[in-house]
């Protein structure tokens, strides 16, 4: 087995310098700046890797569709020219609402070439989350399927004044002057496209994430994030020439973009994309048939694989597998140890979030794994634990102390704004420190351990769900007077979305109504966000100032101590 890309974590961390790392990238020819798509595609297409497979799509049928780096350069050049034809301006936002199909990957990289800002949406979202994001993100162009357009977008058009065109991936004919055929536009477009001057601080990618209060926040990232896409590929994912890599995440979430699209391409390896959803046997056969070397997946999937009775490395030839990594929520020690037996290599956990744009804290091949720990900061990343109160902020030096996980500014991929929410953005920082919203501790060896969230955000199947977004939707149902939503611990997906509903007068708390409300939420928001459980309650516990005490609802649901109730309004 090939050795790791570095052997001494301490030495690498100590002497690390972002500027030096940046010099490993090519930069646009003629000193015209730094563009993610150039680093990911064009520089390889114009060099030794031109005939190497960049992306291999496995269709639901099992059939392959391959793109070489040269082929990807041509396709993404065409898409950039499509945007030009449609008179899109630099900085305009191009959204996708697609599954893991080639047009999503081509549109994302083509948009980056053109210097439009790309924002991928999870295709399973229902109309309401789609609207919230398209609207807040000032969508200019949306690329989607005819079915998703008809079912989820058409009804929103009156409320989306910035939307100029919808591109449909599965029709050869324009529906009208507004909904155009993507294949037709691509067929007519030239492959030749010269990437304009790109300042490393020019906006590139927009990812939405959930907050406790208010609707989703759009975290904006810049082209310079590519330094992290490159460095994490080298140090964490351990990419080497000729590697086959598979990231199972959907680009609708940040992992699926940073590591399902960009990082493997920047590092010049071959990336596998499976169009199908989770299926344990299919996944193992992909690892075997495609001779996957590095596999990046999530605890939810690992827990499902752990339910299977087979011993993977006995039933499948997994001899090519060098590294298995996991992200999305903490990977329990039991899963790390299971992975070692199942694959012959440990499962390396890492931590990051939408706002950080790339992996920040990780376990590494060359560093001793402490099962259950998220590992140690990426070289160049300064992470710490802080005690934060109303009027104080103090970095804790003592090992073992729990507190807020904070990161020092200066990380190339750290978000640059929450669009249209400057105040919220400013509130995420204290001086030079970015406050992540996660609680953690550091042990005496410098390893970080996840403790929990500092707020009410729900982490389900590795995705963040904001309680307010779900509550607002439930309140739109005529029977609902009030709603509160919590994350209820669930072994396979971390937490499930559970809703508590106070009914309006005249409505009875019956099973049929419970099902109707769940159905209503599923139809409006989609299954990734809608509550999986719903209970009726006479009244919601609130503070004297009227804020819902979700923490108390959760404690009651789980039979835990109710804690400090001094702010509770007595009914």
């Amino acid at each position: 087995m090939k050795g790791p890309n570095f052997s001494d974590y301490e030495a690498l961390y100590k002497g690390y310098d972002w500027q030096k790392e940046k010099s490993n990238l090519s930069g646009l020819p003629g000193g015209k700046g730094l563009n993610i798509a150039y680093e990911a595609v064009d520089r390889h297409a114009d060099g030794d890797l031109k005939n190497t497979t960049a992306l291999r799509f496995i269709r639901k049928s099992g059939e392959h569709v391959d793109y070489t780096y040269a082929g990807l350069k041509a396709e993404t050049g065409k898409f950039a020219n499509v945007l030009k034809k449609l008179k899109v301006k630099e900085g305009d936002r191009v959204f996708s609402l697609l599954g893991r199909v080639p047009p999503l990957y081509i549109a994302s990289l083509g948009s980056l070439k053109y210097k439009a800002v790309f924002c991928p949406l999870f295709s399973v979202f229902g109309p309401e989350p789609v609207f919230q994001r398209l609207s807040k993100g000032d969508v200019r162009i949306l690329i989607t399927t005819t079915d998703a357009y008809e079912k989820k977008v058409k009804g929103l058009l009156g409320r989306l004044p910035s939307l100029q065109y919808v591109l449909l991936t599965d029709t050869d004919r324009d529906l009208d002057e507004f909904a155009l055929s993507y294949p037709k536009l691509m067929e007519e477009a030239s492959e030749e496209f010269s990437i304009p001057t790109t300042d490393p601080e020019d906006p590139a990618l927009l990812h939405f994430t959930s907050g406790t209060t208010g609707m989703p926040k759009g975290a904006l990232h810049v082209h310079q994030a590519v330094v992290i896409h490159y460095s994490t590929g080298k140090y964490v994912l351990d990419f080497k020439k000729g590697d086959i890599f598979w990231c199972t995440a959907d680009p609708g979430w940040v992992t699926g973009t940073s590591y399902g699209i960009i990082s493997p391409l920047v590092n010049g390896v071959t990336s596998i994309v499976d169009e199908e959803e989770f299926d344990g046997m299919r996944w193992y056969s992909i690892l075997e048939k495609e001779k996957v070397n590095i596999w990046y997946t999530a605890p939810t999937a690992i827990r499902r694989l752990m339910r299977m009775t087979i011993v993977p490395k006995e039933s499948f030839d997994l001899s090519h597998l060098r590294l298995v990594l996991s992200v999305g929520e903490p990977l329990h020690a039991g899963a790390v140890i299971w992975g070692e037996k199942a694959f012959g290599v440990p499962v390396l956990d890492n931590w990051w979030q939408t706002e950080t744009g790339g992996i920040m804290i990780s376990n590494y091949r060359s560093m001793k794994v402490k099962p259950g720990s998220m590992g140690r900061p990426l070289p160049g990343v300064h992470a710490a634990i802080a005690d934060i109160g109303e009027n104080h902020f103090k970095v804790l030096d003592q090992p073992g102390k729990e507190g807020h996980l904070v990161l020092k500014k200066g990380i190339p991929s750290l978000f640059r704004e929450y669009i249209h929410q400057e105040e919220r953005y400013q509130k995420s920082f204290h001086g030079d420190w970015y406050i992540t919203g996660d609680l953690a501790r550091i042990d005496s060896d410098g390893y970080f351990w996840f403790v929990g969230r500092a707020d009410d955000i729900i982490k389900t199947s590795g995705h963040m769900v904001g309680p307010f977004e779900v509550e607002s939707t439930l309140m739109k149902h005529p029977a609902v007077a009030e709603a509160a939503v919590i994350g209820k611990p669930e072994p396979s997906i971390g937490e499930l979305v559970k809703a508590f509903v106070v009914l309006k007068e005249g409505y009875q708390a019956e099973k049929d109504l419970e099902r109707e409300l769940i159905g209503f939420a599923r139809k409006t928001m989609g299954p990734a966000v809608a509550p999986k459980e719903l209970s009726f309650i006479d009244s919601l516990p609130k503070t004297k100032s009227g804020k819902i005490l979700r923490r108390l609802l959760k404690a009651r649901e789980l039979g835990l101590p109710e804690g400090d109730l001094s702010t509770l309004e007595k009914n």
Binding site: M281, R522, P527
Partner: protein, 81 residues
């Protein structure tokens, strides 16, 4: 349990998971998950409910055989006997 009863059980359990859908309108070969907008957690709950209702064991290894209504009913028939 005959084929019709089996089918009705499947529809009823799917309706519990996705109350806003009409499982009886599923086409035999389409993906149940896609047609009813069921995520991986819902799919797991459905299989667990099926196992309880029919008193059978469906190992995770076989979940790929439950993709469409047709393949699911064939699989269940072989299990229920």
């Amino acid at each position: 349990m005959n084929q019709e009863e089996l089918k009705n059980t499947v529809f009823q359990l799917l309706k519990n998971i996705a109350p806003e859908t009409e499982p009886s309108q599923l086409m035999p070969d389409e993906s149940i998950r896609e047609a009813l907008n069921i995520d991986s957690y819902d799919a797991l709950q459905f299989i667990v409910a099926l196992c309880e209702k029919l008193d059978i064991d469906i190992p995770e290894e076989d979940y790929g055989k439950t993709r469409s209504l047709k393949s699911l009913l064939e699989y269940l028939s072989s299990k229920v006997g």
